[in-house]
Symmetry: C2
Subunit: 199 residues, 2 copies
Protein backbone atom coordinates (compact mmCIF):
# COMPACT_ATOMS: atom_id res chain seq x y z
CA UNK A 1 0.00 0.00 0.00
CA UNK A 2 2.30 2.75 -1.17
CA UNK A 3 -0.39 5.18 -2.19
CA UNK A 4 0.16 8.61 -0.71
CA UNK A 5 -2.22 11.29 0.46
CA UNK A 6 -1.42 13.42 -2.54
CA UNK A 7 -2.11 10.58 -4.91
CA UNK A 8 1.11 10.15 -6.80
CA UNK A 9 3.18 7.05 -6.36
CA UNK A 10 6.61 8.28 -7.33
CA UNK A 11 8.51 11.05 -9.01
CA UNK A 12 7.69 13.98 -6.71
CA UNK A 13 10.22 15.37 -4.31
CA UNK A 14 10.46 12.82 -1.52
CA UNK A 15 11.69 15.33 0.98
CA UNK A 16 8.62 17.50 0.47
CA UNK A 17 6.31 14.50 0.73
CA UNK A 18 7.87 13.53 4.03
CA UNK A 19 7.28 17.06 5.30
CA UNK A 20 3.65 17.02 4.24
CA UNK A 21 2.84 13.65 5.74
CA UNK A 22 4.72 14.36 8.95
CA UNK A 23 3.10 17.74 9.42
CA UNK A 24 -0.35 16.25 8.92
CA UNK A 25 0.20 13.43 11.37
CA UNK A 26 1.92 15.62 13.96
CA UNK A 27 -0.99 18.06 13.86
CA UNK A 28 -3.63 15.36 14.01
CA UNK A 29 -2.19 12.86 16.51
CA UNK A 30 0.57 14.81 18.15
CA UNK A 31 4.32 14.86 17.65
CA UNK A 32 5.15 12.29 20.31
CA UNK A 33 2.42 9.90 19.35
CA UNK A 34 3.53 9.82 15.74
CA UNK A 35 6.47 7.51 15.11
CA UNK A 36 8.85 7.67 12.19
CA UNK A 37 7.74 4.15 11.36
CA UNK A 38 4.19 5.42 10.85
CA UNK A 39 5.34 8.27 8.64
CA UNK A 40 7.48 5.92 6.60
CA UNK A 41 4.63 3.44 6.19
CA UNK A 42 2.31 6.08 4.80
CA UNK A 43 4.91 6.95 2.22
CA UNK A 44 5.66 3.34 1.40
CA UNK A 45 9.29 3.58 2.48
CA UNK A 46 11.25 2.54 5.55
CA UNK A 47 12.36 4.56 8.53
CA UNK A 48 15.93 4.51 7.35
CA UNK A 49 14.96 6.36 4.20
CA UNK A 50 13.74 9.27 6.30
CA UNK A 51 17.17 9.58 7.80
CA UNK A 52 18.64 10.16 4.42
CA UNK A 53 16.53 13.31 4.07
CA UNK A 54 16.49 14.49 7.68
CA UNK A 55 19.03 14.04 10.39
CA UNK A 56 16.47 13.59 13.17
CA UNK A 57 12.79 13.67 13.97
CA UNK A 58 13.12 17.16 15.37
CA UNK A 59 14.79 18.21 12.18
CA UNK A 60 11.61 17.46 10.24
CA UNK A 61 9.73 19.87 12.44
CA UNK A 62 12.44 22.44 12.08
CA UNK A 63 12.32 22.17 8.29
CA UNK A 64 8.66 22.98 7.96
CA UNK A 65 8.54 25.64 10.64
CA UNK A 66 11.45 27.75 9.48
CA UNK A 67 9.72 29.08 6.39
CA UNK A 68 6.73 29.99 8.43
CA UNK A 69 8.80 31.85 11.00
CA UNK A 70 10.79 33.64 8.32
CA UNK A 71 7.62 34.95 6.80
CA UNK A 72 6.50 36.02 10.23
CA UNK A 73 9.76 37.87 10.82
CA UNK A 74 9.58 39.69 7.50
CA UNK A 75 6.09 40.72 8.38
CA UNK A 76 7.13 42.11 11.74
CA UNK A 77 9.96 44.07 10.14
CA UNK A 78 7.51 45.47 7.62
CA UNK A 79 5.04 46.36 10.37
CA UNK A 80 7.68 48.34 12.24
CA UNK A 81 8.07 50.63 9.26
CA UNK A 82 4.42 51.55 9.06
CA UNK A 83 3.31 54.86 10.56
CA UNK A 84 1.34 54.31 13.80
CA UNK A 85 -2.42 54.59 13.48
CA UNK A 86 -5.67 52.80 12.69
CA UNK A 87 -4.91 52.27 9.00
CA UNK A 88 -1.64 50.55 9.79
CA UNK A 89 -3.25 48.41 12.44
CA UNK A 90 -5.80 47.27 9.92
CA UNK A 91 -3.09 46.54 7.37
CA UNK A 92 -1.17 44.51 9.93
CA UNK A 93 -4.21 42.43 10.79
CA UNK A 94 -4.85 41.83 7.12
CA UNK A 95 -1.31 40.72 6.39
CA UNK A 96 -1.31 38.56 9.48
CA UNK A 97 -4.39 36.85 8.11
CA UNK A 98 -2.56 36.12 4.87
CA UNK A 99 0.22 34.38 6.77
CA UNK A 100 -2.11 32.35 8.96
CA UNK A 101 -4.11 31.39 5.90
CA UNK A 102 -1.13 30.11 3.97
CA UNK A 103 0.53 28.46 6.93
CA UNK A 104 -2.63 27.20 8.54
CA UNK A 105 -1.44 23.61 8.81
CA UNK A 106 1.80 24.66 10.48
CA UNK A 107 -0.18 26.88 12.77
CA UNK A 108 -2.49 24.03 13.70
CA UNK A 109 0.55 21.93 14.47
CA UNK A 110 2.07 24.56 16.73
CA UNK A 111 -1.23 25.22 18.43
CA UNK A 112 -1.89 21.60 19.26
CA UNK A 113 1.64 20.67 20.31
CA UNK A 114 2.57 23.61 22.50
CA UNK A 115 3.57 21.63 25.55
CA UNK A 116 5.63 19.18 23.54
CA UNK A 117 7.46 21.87 21.64
CA UNK A 118 8.32 23.84 24.75
CA UNK A 119 11.80 23.10 25.92
CA UNK A 120 12.61 20.91 22.96
CA UNK A 121 16.11 21.36 21.71
CA UNK A 122 17.43 21.45 25.24
CA UNK A 123 15.83 24.66 26.32
CA UNK A 124 17.03 26.72 23.40
CA UNK A 125 13.38 27.03 22.47
CA UNK A 126 14.03 26.66 18.80
CA UNK A 127 10.41 25.72 18.25
CA UNK A 128 8.60 27.63 20.92
CA UNK A 129 9.07 30.71 18.88
CA UNK A 130 5.54 31.65 18.20
CA UNK A 131 4.82 33.47 21.44
CA UNK A 132 7.75 35.91 21.34
CA UNK A 133 6.89 36.84 17.76
CA UNK A 134 3.26 37.22 18.62
CA UNK A 135 4.18 39.49 21.50
CA UNK A 136 6.50 41.53 19.30
CA UNK A 137 3.76 42.08 16.78
CA UNK A 138 1.41 43.33 19.47
CA UNK A 139 4.05 45.76 20.68
CA UNK A 140 4.40 47.10 17.19
CA UNK A 141 0.67 47.63 16.95
CA UNK A 142 0.06 49.43 20.24
CA UNK A 143 3.49 50.47 21.50
CA UNK A 144 5.26 49.10 24.56
CA UNK A 145 3.48 51.32 27.07
CA UNK A 146 -0.14 50.72 26.15
CA UNK A 147 -2.54 50.05 29.00
CA UNK A 148 -3.88 46.59 29.80
CA UNK A 149 -7.19 47.14 28.09
CA UNK A 150 -5.58 48.13 24.81
CA UNK A 151 -3.15 45.26 25.06
CA UNK A 152 -5.79 42.63 25.64
CA UNK A 153 -7.87 44.04 22.78
CA UNK A 154 -4.93 43.87 20.38
CA UNK A 155 -4.14 40.35 21.51
CA UNK A 156 -7.70 39.27 20.87
CA UNK A 157 -7.67 40.96 17.47
CA UNK A 158 -4.83 38.73 16.34
CA UNK A 159 -6.30 35.68 18.05
CA UNK A 160 -9.51 36.31 16.15
CA UNK A 161 -7.47 35.80 13.01
CA UNK A 162 -5.87 32.63 14.36
CA UNK A 163 -8.94 30.98 15.74
CA UNK A 164 -11.44 32.45 13.37
CA UNK A 165 -9.45 30.77 10.69
CA UNK A 166 -8.57 27.51 12.41
CA UNK A 167 -11.91 26.83 14.02
CA UNK A 168 -14.12 27.86 11.18
CA UNK A 169 -12.22 27.27 7.99
CA UNK A 170 -12.16 23.50 8.14
CA UNK A 171 -12.16 20.47 10.37
CA UNK A 172 -14.42 21.47 13.17
CA UNK A 173 -17.86 19.92 12.83
CA UNK A 174 -18.55 20.91 16.42
CA UNK A 175 -18.21 24.57 15.75
CA UNK A 176 -19.25 24.91 12.15
CA UNK A 177 -22.14 22.65 11.14
CA UNK A 178 -22.55 23.87 7.57
CA UNK A 179 -19.96 24.24 4.85
CA UNK A 180 -18.95 27.84 4.67
CA UNK A 181 -17.78 30.43 2.21
CA UNK A 182 -14.09 31.31 2.69
CA UNK A 183 -14.58 34.83 1.38
CA UNK A 184 -17.36 35.46 3.88
CA UNK A 185 -15.26 34.07 6.71
CA UNK A 186 -12.39 36.31 5.71
CA UNK A 187 -14.60 39.38 5.71
CA UNK A 188 -16.14 38.53 9.06
CA UNK A 189 -12.79 37.82 10.69
CA UNK A 190 -11.28 41.04 9.41
CA UNK A 191 -14.22 43.09 10.57
CA UNK A 192 -14.18 41.67 14.08
CA UNK A 193 -10.40 41.86 14.39
CA UNK A 194 -10.47 45.45 13.23
CA UNK A 195 -13.15 46.39 15.71
CA UNK A 196 -10.89 45.04 18.46
CA UNK A 197 -7.71 46.69 17.23
CA UNK A 198 -9.38 50.00 16.40
CA UNK A 199 -12.15 50.56 18.93
Amino acid sequence: MSETATGHTRGGDTRARIQQVALGLFAEQGYERTSLREIAERLGVTKAALYYHFKSKEDIVFSFTEDYFSEFDEMIAWAREQPPGPASRYAIVERYLDIVERGSEVFRFLERNQATMRGIDGGKHRFEQFRPRFAALIDVMIGPDADLRTRVRATMALLTVNFGWIFFSRDDPDLVPDPLDPAELRAVVLEIANSLANP
Copy 2:
Protein backbone atom coordinates in the same frame (compact mmCIF):
# COMPACT_ATOMS: atom_id res chain seq x y z
CA MET B 1 15.18 15.82 47.90
CA SER B 2 11.60 14.94 48.75
CA GLU B 3 10.33 18.45 49.13
CA THR B 4 7.12 19.07 47.24
CA ALA B 5 5.73 22.09 45.46
CA THR B 6 3.19 22.65 48.17
CA GLY B 7 5.79 22.49 50.87
CA HIS B 8 4.72 19.67 53.13
CA THR B 9 6.76 16.52 53.36
CA ARG B 10 4.18 14.00 54.50
CA GLY B 11 0.72 13.58 55.95
CA GLY B 12 -1.33 15.15 53.17
CA ASP B 13 -3.35 13.05 50.81
CA THR B 14 -0.85 11.36 48.53
CA ARG B 15 -3.36 10.92 45.76
CA ALA B 16 -4.00 14.64 45.62
CA ARG B 17 -0.29 15.41 45.61
CA ILE B 18 0.24 13.08 42.69
CA GLN B 19 -2.53 14.89 40.81
CA GLN B 20 -1.01 18.29 41.52
CA VAL B 21 2.50 17.36 40.50
CA ALA B 22 1.38 15.45 37.41
CA LEU B 23 -0.88 18.26 36.26
CA GLY B 24 1.90 20.78 36.64
CA LEU B 25 4.44 18.73 34.73
CA PHE B 26 1.97 17.71 32.02
CA ALA B 27 1.06 21.34 31.45
CA GLU B 28 4.65 22.54 31.46
CA GLN B 29 6.52 19.83 29.55
CA GLY B 30 3.72 17.91 27.91
CA TYR B 31 1.98 14.66 28.76
CA GLU B 32 4.19 12.42 26.63
CA ARG B 33 7.42 14.03 27.69
CA THR B 34 6.64 13.55 31.35
CA SER B 35 7.36 10.06 32.60
CA LEU B 36 5.89 8.44 35.66
CA ARG B 37 9.42 8.09 36.94
CA GLU B 38 9.77 11.88 36.90
CA ILE B 39 6.50 12.41 38.73
CA ALA B 40 7.47 9.83 41.32
CA GLU B 41 10.89 11.40 41.83
CA ARG B 42 9.40 14.80 42.55
CA LEU B 43 7.25 13.26 45.21
CA GLY B 44 10.05 11.21 46.67
CA VAL B 45 8.36 7.91 45.92
CA THR B 46 8.73 5.23 43.25
CA LYS B 47 6.74 4.57 40.11
CA ALA B 48 5.11 1.54 41.68
CA ALA B 49 3.56 3.72 44.37
CA LEU B 50 1.71 5.68 41.72
CA TYR B 51 0.07 2.49 40.55
CA TYR B 52 -1.45 1.99 43.93
CA HIS B 53 -3.37 5.24 43.54
CA PHE B 54 -4.02 5.18 39.79
CA LYS B 55 -4.46 2.30 37.45
CA SER B 56 -2.62 3.95 34.55
CA LYS B 57 -1.02 7.16 33.38
CA GLU B 58 -4.15 8.11 31.48
CA ASP B 59 -6.14 7.56 34.62
CA ILE B 60 -4.29 10.39 36.34
CA VAL B 61 -5.41 12.75 33.60
CA PHE B 62 -8.92 11.46 33.82
CA SER B 63 -9.00 12.05 37.56
CA PHE B 64 -8.16 15.72 37.40
CA THR B 65 -10.23 16.53 34.34
CA GLU B 66 -13.51 15.00 35.45
CA ASP B 67 -14.24 17.59 38.11
CA TYR B 68 -13.53 20.34 35.66
CA PHE B 69 -15.85 18.87 33.05
CA SER B 70 -18.59 18.29 35.60
CA GLU B 71 -18.50 21.91 36.57
CA PHE B 72 -18.61 22.84 32.92
CA ASP B 73 -21.65 20.62 32.36
CA GLU B 74 -23.51 22.07 35.30
CA MET B 75 -22.78 25.49 33.95
CA ILE B 76 -24.16 24.62 30.50
CA ALA B 77 -27.34 23.19 32.04
CA TRP B 78 -27.75 26.36 34.05
CA ALA B 79 -27.18 28.52 30.97
CA ARG B 80 -29.92 26.70 29.07
CA GLU B 81 -32.42 27.79 31.68
CA GLN B 82 -31.63 31.47 31.37
CA PRO B 83 -33.95 33.61 29.25
CA PRO B 84 -32.29 34.62 25.96
CA GLY B 85 -30.92 38.14 25.86
CA PRO B 86 -27.96 40.42 26.60
CA ALA B 87 -28.19 40.11 30.37
CA SER B 88 -28.00 36.34 30.18
CA ARG B 89 -25.12 36.44 27.77
CA TYR B 90 -23.24 38.63 30.17
CA ALA B 91 -24.05 36.31 33.06
CA ILE B 92 -22.83 33.33 31.06
CA VAL B 93 -19.55 35.03 30.24
CA GLU B 94 -19.09 35.93 33.89
CA ARG B 95 -19.76 32.42 35.14
CA TYR B 96 -17.52 31.02 32.45
CA LEU B 97 -14.75 33.24 33.75
CA ASP B 98 -15.25 31.82 37.25
CA ILE B 99 -14.73 28.31 35.93
CA VAL B 100 -11.67 29.17 33.88
CA GLU B 101 -10.23 31.04 36.84
CA ARG B 102 -10.60 28.15 39.23
CA GLY B 103 -9.56 25.49 36.75
CA SER B 104 -6.88 27.50 35.05
CA GLU B 105 -4.18 24.88 35.48
CA VAL B 106 -6.39 22.16 33.97
CA PHE B 107 -7.26 24.51 31.18
CA ARG B 108 -3.60 25.21 30.49
CA PHE B 109 -2.98 21.50 30.37
CA LEU B 110 -5.78 20.89 27.88
CA GLU B 111 -4.75 23.85 25.77
CA ARG B 112 -1.15 22.76 25.47
CA ASN B 113 -1.77 19.06 24.94
CA GLN B 114 -4.57 19.11 22.42
CA ALA B 115 -2.95 16.89 19.84
CA THR B 116 -1.87 14.34 22.41
CA MET B 117 -5.26 14.16 24.05
CA ARG B 118 -7.09 13.72 20.78
CA GLY B 119 -7.86 10.11 20.11
CA ILE B 120 -6.52 8.94 23.43
CA ASP B 121 -8.55 6.16 24.95
CA GLY B 122 -8.80 4.47 21.60
CA GLY B 123 -10.87 7.05 19.82
CA LYS B 124 -13.58 7.30 22.47
CA HIS B 125 -12.42 10.89 22.98
CA ARG B 126 -12.72 10.70 26.73
CA PHE B 127 -10.37 13.64 27.05
CA GLU B 128 -11.02 15.64 23.94
CA GLN B 129 -14.15 16.86 25.53
CA PHE B 130 -13.50 20.53 25.67
CA ARG B 131 -14.50 21.44 22.13
CA PRO B 132 -17.97 19.88 22.14
CA ARG B 133 -18.78 21.61 25.39
CA PHE B 134 -17.41 24.89 24.15
CA ALA B 135 -19.57 24.58 21.03
CA ALA B 136 -22.62 23.73 23.10
CA LEU B 137 -22.15 26.81 25.22
CA ILE B 138 -21.95 29.00 22.15
CA ASP B 139 -25.16 27.49 20.83
CA VAL B 140 -26.86 28.29 24.09
CA MET B 141 -25.69 31.89 23.85
CA ILE B 142 -26.71 32.65 20.29
CA GLY B 143 -29.04 29.83 19.23
CA PRO B 144 -28.30 27.20 16.61
CA ASP B 145 -29.24 29.32 13.61
CA ALA B 146 -27.19 32.44 14.24
CA ASP B 147 -25.25 33.84 11.32
CA LEU B 148 -21.49 33.46 10.94
CA ARG B 149 -20.68 36.91 12.21
CA THR B 150 -22.62 36.42 15.44
CA ARG B 151 -21.09 32.98 15.88
CA VAL B 152 -17.51 34.14 15.47
CA ARG B 153 -18.15 37.04 17.85
CA ALA B 154 -19.56 34.73 20.52
CA THR B 155 -16.64 32.36 20.05
CA MET B 156 -14.17 35.17 20.50
CA ALA B 157 -16.03 36.41 23.57
CA LEU B 158 -15.42 33.11 25.32
CA LEU B 159 -11.88 32.86 24.00
CA THR B 160 -11.20 36.30 25.43
CA VAL B 161 -11.95 34.78 28.80
CA ASN B 162 -9.72 31.77 28.14
CA PHE B 163 -6.76 33.61 26.75
CA GLY B 164 -7.21 36.82 28.61
CA TRP B 165 -6.83 34.76 31.69
CA ILE B 166 -4.16 32.31 30.60
CA PHE B 167 -1.90 34.75 28.81
CA PHE B 168 -2.14 37.62 31.21
CA SER B 169 -2.78 36.17 34.63
CA ARG B 170 0.57 34.51 35.06
CA ASP B 171 3.46 32.83 33.36
CA ASP B 172 3.87 34.85 30.23
CA PRO B 173 6.73 37.29 30.48
CA ASP B 174 6.53 37.77 26.72
CA LEU B 175 3.04 39.14 26.83
CA VAL B 176 2.86 40.79 30.19
CA PRO B 177 6.05 42.59 31.25
CA ASP B 178 4.79 44.04 34.53
CA PRO B 179 3.04 42.33 37.42
CA LEU B 180 -0.63 42.96 37.11
CA ASP B 181 -3.71 43.41 39.24
CA PRO B 182 -6.07 40.41 39.01
CA ALA B 183 -9.11 42.56 39.66
CA GLU B 184 -8.20 44.89 36.83
CA LEU B 185 -7.62 41.97 34.47
CA ARG B 186 -10.98 40.54 35.40
CA ALA B 187 -12.74 43.80 34.68
CA VAL B 188 -10.96 44.27 31.36
CA VAL B 189 -11.65 40.73 30.21
CA LEU B 190 -15.32 40.96 31.13
CA GLU B 191 -15.73 44.26 29.36
CA ILE B 192 -14.13 43.06 26.13
CA ALA B 193 -15.94 39.72 26.18
CA ASN B 194 -19.22 41.49 26.75
CA SER B 195 -18.64 43.88 23.88
CA LEU B 196 -18.15 40.87 21.62
CA ALA B 197 -21.14 38.92 22.89
CA ASN B 198 -23.44 41.95 23.00
CA PRO B 199 -22.46 44.25 20.16
